[in-house]
């Protein structure tokens, strides 16, 4: 009887497992551990005493490495926050790094769509207290990359949302400038071609 029950349970477990894999058939699940290791290697570069990063010759080179494992706005964010280039050398800005995933502890990996997964892990850190780490994985250009990473420190009471204090006007100005440039280019190229005629 017990044997049969075990078999039945095992059968059910396999079936549920198969169903999940059928749903996510397109690209499978993101390689969480592997990506985390690559992220860790890129963020916690071993710098020299004066915080110079010797492994990379320029920020552009480092940017390429970052962009190979995450979407570009996220790569820009990490480069802006943690690195600077001076006299042709790359330096680490001495600050507390981002929270890393602890792959051996519990986390949930939720499938949002075939090319998007969201991972959540709760944790505690001596510096920042209790936190929630949320990682979004996106399937882009044939591989899984980080779409977003957020670590939110929780408090006993959740407070209000911080107001959006960025105006869109500088963007509008830049856009207008670009349109003007296109217009000028059209006029200029026309004049140039009429000269050659």
């Amino acid at each position: 009887m017990l044997k049969k029950l075990v078999v039945a349970v095992l059968f059910l477990v396999t079936l549920t497992g198969m169903q999940v894999s059928v749903f996510a058939e397109n690209h499978g699940e993101p390689p969480v551990k592997e990506l985390e290791q690559q992220f860790s290697d890129l963020i916690y570069l071993e710098p020299a005493e004066d915080y110079e990063v010797k492994q990379y010759e320029s920020l552009d080179q480092l940017e390429e490495a970052y962009k190979s494992i995450m979407v570009w706005p996220l790569a820009d964010h990490y480069l802006d926050t943690y690195f600077k280039e001076e006299n042709g050398n790359v330096y680490l800005i001495p600050t507390e790094g981002p929270i890393r995933l602890n792959p051996d502890e519990d986390y949930t990996l939720e499938r949002i769509s075939n090319d998007k997964y969201e991972l959540t892990q709760e944790g505690k850190n001596p510096l920042r207290g209790e936190y929630t780490l949320t990682i979004t994985y996106s399937y882009e250009a044939g591989k899984w990359v980080f779409g977003d990473r957020m670590d939110i420190v929780s408090s006993t009471e959740n407070g209000g949302e911080l107001p959006d204090t960025a105006s869109s006007l500088p963007n509008a100005m830049a856009f207008g400038g670009a349109v003007m440039a296109v217009g000028a280019l059209m006029l200029f190229s026309r004049r140039k071609s009429s000269f050659t005629n």
């Binding site: 802006d80 107001p163 204090t165 960025a166 105006s167 207008g176």
Partner: protein, 209 residues
Amino acid sequence: MKKIGILFLLTGFMVVAWSGYSLWQQTQAVTHTTDEVPEQFGNWEHTTYQQQLAVPAKKKMAEQTPETPDYTTGDKVGTLNIPRIGTQYEVYWGTGEDTLKQGVGMYDSQWTVTPDHPGHVVLSGHRETVFSQLGSLKEGDHLYASYDGNIYDYQIRDMWITDAEDRTVIVDKNKPTLTLTTCYPFDFVGSAPDRYIVQAELVSVETIE
């Protein structure tokens, strides 16, 4: 081709002119007081630590406005003076998009209060127009909020950068605290990933004569 070129040039010019004008108009919410710091803010250069007040203006407590004041979004509620960067701002009720176009907004929520209550006062402003110089403030600097017949003198305790999604800044406080928020990085164009926070504690209250 020539006509299209001219059309592009004109359209572009109009967009630049319109957004430039709007931006300029929004910066007008700031009054520059660099030449002469108003008399009532005479102690602005004293940056040594002052004890925090536990309650704002004891005598006035009976006359204070109710916990949830009867303002409409966009109403002018007071002024903010920061002599360190030589600026004075009009403060309006609410921190929605329209209010922030007018100037500095006072946060209206269950966690925040007006300056006459012992709690958390939060003021927000656009990084490009009003709060562009918040980064040059230092610990110990004074922020003066004029509200309902009183001048509340706050002293800066801390400044930090946090994620735009952080919900641990705008929270309940049981002692009179003033927090300024704006977007960060200051020179970043477009919607910003971070916020710059300046937090100050109430150190004295004076009645405006």
